[in-house]
Symmetry: C3
């Protein structure tokens, strides 16, 4: 954290909340309900955490009006409409930030590169020809910024990141360790039994407030650019192939893979390890649950899913045997045939009764 | 690009195509049909792109004879049998290449390593004992080439690549950023409830013209070597475990995982995020569609698939309920029983009719 | 290997085995049955390898008493109860180890960091404020050890590893190349259509004897820590999200993803590319087969599976058509209805017979 602690009144002010209790109570850190000690502040994210809150040793709780009324034994509160959002805000107060400025002597920076005065370029960073690094941007040790890459203001580029392919990053972009942006797309022309490499001439455009996790691969386009619009957030180990387009504020969980030229709309949420086949479109406001497999366009907003879930192994084996038979079973006819047979039977029965 | 531009005549000559139009037309770059401007050249990859080609501002089009006849409003063409292949060829003309030679002063190279005179070793590269780097090979910033690794001629090793385990790479191999070759395979002997590490003594052999994407892991073998034959192409974030063998010209899309000692044939195509279980064999000319799950040998060439595709979420939930019942439903008997009952019914009906 | 070779007697002593044959036989290396030459030692891992052993050129075989009796044509043996474990032990004898000590001149180490005298810090390593590196630990080239990270004794940290988020690693931990430990978890509060970043304040705790493969991402916790207990082993390209807990000796194969706050028990085995959804619990001694999809708690030890396996493509297409119909087919009723109709029919038939 940047200071030794904060008074309750200061914290309430920061999150625009209403204070109940001792306004001079000293808060040293944020904590979980379970691990909190007396000088810590916690948030209560709904009724289901009330028992945990009651048992917690935290000195202060961020709550709604409703939740405060349930926590009779506690004394210090900050009341807000959205405790989770207030918590998100407070994490930035207690975060340890990189405060260094300037260029470490071991950084290798091409004479044509333009680095803002208040940027920080850490040890062994390599920056190529005609690169631009904006104000207040931090580039951590060993990052490699290849020729013609431009990085905006207030960005954070972590250790061992490689940015190449003349990628352009706007402002407040965060790229976590060991991620690769702008590497060559997987483009090959098959001819006479061999693969002929297509050199990739497009680039990558990354909007404002984009966040990319660690160990991701974001390829440059073949001719046009790969594009991540403003506010896109991406977790770790995600593959974004060449010429993919991702709309504003779409969230992509870890281990997803988006194949070449796919277009994903705004405000989508892709659950972990989902895959999207190339050259298709996903509408705005689509949610994919984890491990989804998208092989066709999705033209309507909504939630979509794949996968058969988890089976106990012997049950699974039997299920797979049946699944292999399924293609030859006319499922939709079975019920119809049963109904038809039932009707015939009943007709026969009544015929017999009449003849009695 | 290496020059400011090319005349249409020069480009036609490079792709061995027939020129129609102004042979002195000046071409500054390759572009997509959509983004092209007047000084750009585009390719038309079949009839379905004709409307886009008509609307394009490109000055020149690479087409087949047949396609040229449809594009009445356009003037400049290069006619070839395979426009996609001609495009692939031209990308190399317009690609910005690394032209540096020699060893940057910050590179740390063991005195026993042999580096060809016209190789380029970028900043902060570390090269260990007894390594060899061939003619015209480029090793980008921060790559680590550990002891006893050998790299052939005309290779490209991008930033932050780690090559260890005494791996041997032949000629024209391209390895993209942050990939690891020759790291220790996942070998442990379970004994008395603990995992006992098996040090990996094998290596990795990589053939000519192999291409490996970014953030891949190619492990060294346990005793024998992991082998990638000539012409294998691999996309990003791919796992190749110890002792895997991959036959010539096989293509592996992003996010695939091949478990230990699997043997994959020649000319196979593995769709993205496919998984292959260890110790099994896949024949030559096998294609796996995306997200395939291979748990048994594949002995016949052909196309194979897994996964249930994508369902609207409420439909998916109902489907999963049914799937969990499937094991207890004797599918193959249902149709037989229906036929049998139908026959009985008809026999009864005719009996009744006879008695009328 | 550390020496030119070993006598059979020495090797037998090292694995506590009984020697049969020439005790002075000189062994230069371990090898596979297939590739072994006369000066090599092999292990035979069960009856199914007997034919391969008979055909092998190896000079010595590690076997059980039972196996030795089948190999009539061979002369030199080491007899043990568990040949695989003996092999695991011997790999350490023949492994080429890093023997360097001290700190390379190009390493950048903060003055407040404490590095044990017999540790090895390779070229271009960056070590931040208040870091600790224990006895006999090896940190390979280009690793970045960020502020407040502590690494125990006898650890191995390979090239391009990033350790940040004040992570704490105990003793004998091995982390392979290009892995990221302690990077920021994927935490965002949605508010008014945008994602608000939650700075991550927790850390990562890694126990003794933990092994992490290459290109993995192990995120720091949001408030509390992400925890890997003693003896956990993890393969390549694995995602461990914030606040995950993994119990002792659990093994996680390549390409698995464990989402945030999931708790995995002791002695579990997760097959390759398995996914575990966030905030759920998996009991001790659970085995997941490859590509499993865990979306609910697993409260009982046992083996579990997902996925439909592999289908020939045209069979698969038909199966998917049927699967899409399945939700509307009352599977459990079909057999009951068939039985009911059968009974009615038989009753009708007997009625008719009686009336004859």
């Amino acid at each position: 954290m940047n200071r030794h602690g904060y008074r309750l009144e200061e914290i309430a002010h920061l999150v625009k909340g209403e204070l109940f209790g001792d306004k001079d109570f000293k808060i040293s850190n944020l904590a979980s309900l379970e691990q909190a000690q007396n000088q810590h502040i916690c948030f209560v994210n709904g009724d289901k955490y009330l028992a945990q809150a009651e048992a917690s040793h935290a000195g202060v709780f961020i709550v709604t009006q409703h939740l405060m009324q349930q926590l009779k034994s506690k004394k210090n509160f900050i009341v807000v409409d959205n405790p989770y959002l207030a918590f998100a805000t407070l994490t930035h107060i207690f975060e340890k930030k990189v405060t260094q400025k300037g260029i470490e002597s071991t950084a290798q920076i091409h004479s044509s590169a333009i680095i803002a005065d208040d940027a920080y370029i850490a040890h062994y960073v390599v920056i190529g020809e005609n690169c631009v690094v904006g104000r207040n941007t931090i580039i951590q040790s060993h990052a490699v910024i290849d020729h013609h890459v431009e990085i905006g203001n207030d960005c954070f580029i972590d250790a061992h990141v490689t940015i190449t392919g003349a990628a352009k990053l706007k402002d407040r972009v965060r790229v976590h360790a060991n991620t690769v942006i702008g590497s060559e797309g997987f483009g090959f022309a098959p001819y006479q039994g061999k693969w002929h490499r297509i050199a990739q001439l497009g680039s990558v455009q990354i909007g404002n407030d984009v966040r990319i996790g660690s160990n991701c691969s974001i390829d440059r386009g073949a001719l046009d650019d790969t594009i991540l619009e403003d506010g896109v957030i991406i977790d770790n180990l995600v593959q974004i192939a060449h010429n993919v387009y991702i709309g504003q504020n779409t969230a992509i969980a870890a281990k997803c893979g988006i194949a070449g030229s796919a277009r994903i709309g705004k405000n989508c949420i892709l659950g972990g390890a989902s895959g999207v086949v190339g050259h298709l479109e996903i509408a705005d406001n689509v949610t994919l649950t984890a491990m989804s497999m998208v092989t066709k366009n999705i033209s309507e907003a909504g939630t979509y899913s794949s996968g058969i879930g988890l089976f106990e192994n012997s049950h699974w084996k039997k299920t797979i045997v049946r699944l292999r038979q399924l293609a030859d079973v006319p499922l939709t006819q079975i019920t119809k045939r049963l109904d038809h047979i039932q009707a015939q039977l009943e007709s026969l029965e009544s015929t017999l009764k009449l003849r009695k």
